[in-house]
């Protein structure tokens, strides 16, 4: 192992270590711009020059590997001069606008000039003046401030597999940015903003709001999906203004939902007082009165023989599920509770791998039944990493995948509703059975499938079963796994489905949300408690939801906004956002993580566990004496270590209704997936209204043009929306967006994501 001396400190490092990494080990600081621990070293900026005894020139520390016996100086006069000059050169074209720049306070250029620069400027020349580019609601790019480190470009190439964000022109005139796009929102844009060492890329959401040193950062866990990325929530005066991601774990990157999807917390339409129905209006009441009212009515219903059910969002904390579950089961005596409000009918299962590193290690991947980049975005990056580096091969059986297809060795893109047929065919190929008939009408060729089967047998794959899979689909995938000797990793909707399951927040009889809603319609269930989710937005059967809610005697909604579900309610209780209360969440690898409270709940808002506690007190059978969420956590921890058996869900799924001309998949666009994204202004601007997408060739065949307004007809319901052409949509099918609380698109569905639709041009 090479031995080197850095500034007089001797250290032995493994061969291949760069000077920079060796210096970091002994705690010697070397300033860097282009180096980033999670990007490949590039050696572009020369900020990291150091002197090595006996070498005629200074060497860039970030790309030079140490050799035995080197004596390295990071603080000699030559190095100091070099740094000063370099910073002076950078500043020739850098506008001195720190007072208005949002990066000030966390700017690496600022820090380095303070530490290593000289307060002088000898070349007074007119600096470049590039226009500020507002690249959509997420980021702003100001080329004037760029130090040409290319971190953003390298991120786009290395992690995202290339976008049109690149380096243009040469030398002195180099510019960075998107080539032709006016709106840059590519699912992982946040990382480019975070990577930029200066203020060249800044957030449009946080733009000029306040200064970074005025924010208090609290560590928390993202509430949008199961990956459960760590976030640092920057709060000032009870408002969540900025999110940072300061840990390299579980992944150095996060997605835009985590980085920008927090605006709903400070939304002006938020209702923070309880409301109680009086005739046709909802009147504001005190919390005490509201809880008394709810507990009294529920008690009345139960005493008169009616049933009560609870449907709760899968984005809450384990504490919430635990106490609400105990309240429903022990106090109310109800058997109907559920968290799978997206309409899935599966329960979580123990995973085959235990971390994203484990995922990255695999040699091959088989992904079935989910566009990973939409519902588990950071997992998609991990899968892409190995494929991009050529270490792993990726096989997809996904309808309309919008990100991973770039990396796929084989991509089966079945028509909507046919993913599981193709899976079945794959199982038959592996089992040496006849499969041609299974592929009929799926738009997947036999060659693709054969190549896939061969690839899977050659390398040991990691099998990922997406959240769209039905229980039958999971059985099939497990069959495939058994053949290859692997347990699949199954994904779920929601950021804490695993926690909800483990806390026992499901009906012991195995009833699904659909069963519960049907029971509301039939009148067996008379009271319903809904928390933190708009059923009309997320549950894929708007007609059933409407019937069920109008048929109820009593509906309580615990939410943050006046959604359509609230319009049906008899009592509204204000909910807290994820930033206002702590708790435990369980991520996709069954790892329990702790969320911290960033600031006090607004006005009367209460987390669900407090509601449950309050209701139990009013009922006369208090659940216990809990002051803060930390008092509940030990109970949660205990529950998490127990083994929970799920009831069987097989046979509960009806066939997809695919009559109509075009089979369609209803899927969230990326910026609409996740929790309350329709109250995040930036996301609403990006995806303002629902749209249909078709494959360009197929669209031409049907005689449509990109950007047309069309009428989508389902069961006589007509929806007017825009039509776009996207290459990822399978030929002969359509993908319709969903996740809009102000557009009743779930009325077109019957409990599944698939539906046959008819399309025709709208008359002007």
């Amino acid at each position: 192992m090479p031995k080197v001396v850095i500034d007089g400190i001797e250290i032995e490092v493994p061969p291949g270590t760069t000077i920079l990494n060796a210096a970091q080990r002994v705690g010697v600081e070397i300033p860097v711009f282009c180096y980033h621990p999670y990007l490949k070293p590039a050696g572009i900026c020369r900020m990291c020059l150091v002197e090595v005894e006996g070498m005629p020139r200074l060497l860039p520390a970030c790309i030079t590997e140490v050799q035995d016996g080197w004596e390295i100086y990071t603080n000699s006069d030559r190095v100091k001069d070099a740094r000063e000059w370099l910073l002076e050169f950078v500043l020739v074209n850098h506008p001195l606008e720190c007072p208005i720049c949002d990066e000030a306070g966390e700017c690496e250029l600022q820090n380095f000039v303070f530490k290593f620069g000289e307060p002088r400027k000898r070349l007074y020349d007119e600096p470049f003046k590039y226009p500020t580019r507002y690249l959509g609601p997420l980021i702003v790019h100001q080329m004037n401030r760029c130090v040409l480190c290319r971190r953003c470009v390298r991120f786009s190439d290395e992690a995202m597999g290339g976008t049109d964000w690149g380096v243009y022109e040469r030398g002195y005139r180099t510019i960075v940015g998107p080539y032709e796009r006016d709106v840059f929102a590519q699912k992982y844009t946040f990382n480019m903003e975070a990577l930029c060492p200066v203020g060249a890329i800044t957030s449009n959401i946080y733009r000029y709001k306040t200064r970074i040193w005025k924010l208090d950062f609290t560590n928390s866990v993202c509430a949008h999906c199961e990956v459960g990325c760590w976030l640092d929530l920057g709060e000032r005066d009870g408002q969540l203004l900025k999110v940072l991601h300061r840990r390299g774990y579980p992944s150095p990157w996060i997605c835009d939902k985590g980085g920008y999807g927090f605006e709903y917390v400070n939304h002006s339409e938020r209702i923070t007082v309880p409301l109680r129905r009086e005739g046709n209006r909802l009147r504001g009441v005190t919390t005490d009165e509201a809880l008394e009212f709810v507990a009294g009515r529920l008690k009345g219903l139960v005493e008169s023989g009616g049933k009560v059910a609870a449907l709760v969002s899968p984005h809450l904390t384990c504490e919430d599920y635990l106490l609400m579950g105990s309240f429903m089961k022990e106090v109310v005596g109800s058997d109907y509770l559920d968290y799978r409000l997206y309409g899935g009918n599966t329960y979580p299962e123990r995973p085959a791998v235990d971390s994203l590193e484990g995922v990255e290690k695999a040699e091959a991947y088989l992904v079935v039944g989910e566009d990973l980049s939409v519902h588990h975005p950071v997992l998609a990056l991990s899968v892409a990493k190995g494929c991009k580096e050529g270490r792993a091969s990726l096989y997809l059986i996904v309808t309309g995948d919008s990100f991973l297809f770039k990396f796929a060795a084989e991509h089966a893109n079945p028509l909507p509703g046919k993913e599981e047929k193709v899976l079945e065919a794959l199982a038959s190929v592996l089992g040496g059975k006849d499969y041609a008939s299974l592929l009929e009408g799926t738009e997947v060729s036999e060659d693709t499938l054969k190549a896939m089967a061969q690839g899977l047998q050659e390398k040991k794959p990691l099998i990922i079963g997406g959240s769209r899979l039905t229980p039958e689909g999971r059985v099939l995938l497990k069959g495939v796994g058994e053949r290859l000797g692997i347990t699949p990793l199954f994904l779920d909707w929601g950021s804490n489905s695993k926690g909800a399951f483990q806390m026992g927040f499901w009906s012991p009889g195995g009833e699904s949300v659909e069963d519960i809603l049907n029971k509301c319609v039939s009148g067996e269930i008379k009271g319903l408690f809904v928390s933190s989710m708009d059923l009309f937005r997320d549950y894929p059967n708007g007609t059933l939801v409407k019937e069920a809610l109008s048929n109820l005697d009593f509906l309580v909604v615990h939410d943050m906004f006046f959604t359509e579900t609230v319009a049906y309610s008899d009592c509204y209780l204000p909910a807290t956002s994820f930033a206002e209360d702590g708790g435990t969440v369980v991520n996709m690898f069954w790892e329990a993580k702790k969320r911290n409270r960033a600031f006090k709940p607004k006005d009367e808002s209460m987390p669900l566990w407090q509601v449950a506690l309050g209701l139990s007190r009013k009922w006369g059978r208090p659940l216990g004496d809990f002051g803060t969420v930390e008092d509940v956590t030990p109970l949660v921890r205990e529950r998490l270590s127990q083994v929970v058996e799920a009831p069987s869900t097989l046979g509960g799924v009806k066939a997809a209704h695919l009559k109509g001309d075009i089979p369609a998949l209803f899927e969230y666009p990326f910026y609409r997936a996740g929790m309350r994204t329709d109250f995040c202004n930036a996301f609403v601007q990006l995806v303002p209204e629902p749209y249909v997408t078709l494959n360009p060739e197929y669209g031409d065949e049907l005689g449509f043009k990109n950007g047309d307004i069309v009428i989508m007809e389902v069961d006589g319901n007509q929806f007017r929306m825009k039509l776009f052409f996207r290459d990822e949509v399978p030929r002969g099918g359509a993908i319709v967006s969903r996740g809009f609380s102000d557009f009743p698109i779930t009325r077109a569905l019957k409990g599944l994501w698939y539906r046959g639709i008819e399309l025709r041009a709208a008359k002007e």
Binding site: E97, C98, P99, I100, A104, R207, Y208, K209, T210, R211, W213, K214
Partner: protein
Amino acid sequence: MVGPLLKGLRVTFGHLFKPAITVKYPYEKRPVAERYRGRHVLKLDEDGREKCCACGLCEAVCPAGAITLYGAEDPEFKRSDVGKIAEVYEIDYSRCIFCGYCVDACPRGAIIMTTDYELTVPGPGRGHLYKDKNWLFEKRGGE
């Protein structure tokens, strides 16, 4: 016994014939020093645009924590020549210690202190000492 009494009375009567130090405030005001540090004023530039660019240095330097500042964008450069203005600028005069650090810190000379020291109004409460941006822009006192 009489001696000390007379001595005391001499001081008292002596003052009767000296000119008075007090003035009849508020009918009469004492002159203040030129560089007196009274209430703040936010300046406008020649085009009537706000000079403050919400850099937050005054807020950061204020030892009493009297300043609250939130910025906003002015994309059309109507209210600011750099496109950034203070959306909220408040000084809590019940906390301000009139040290003048904010004036020192301001890189654009947007905040100055005037010789105006009359901040009280009759009546109970201290709420009126919480001054907002509009008030700070008003041309009053020694500006």
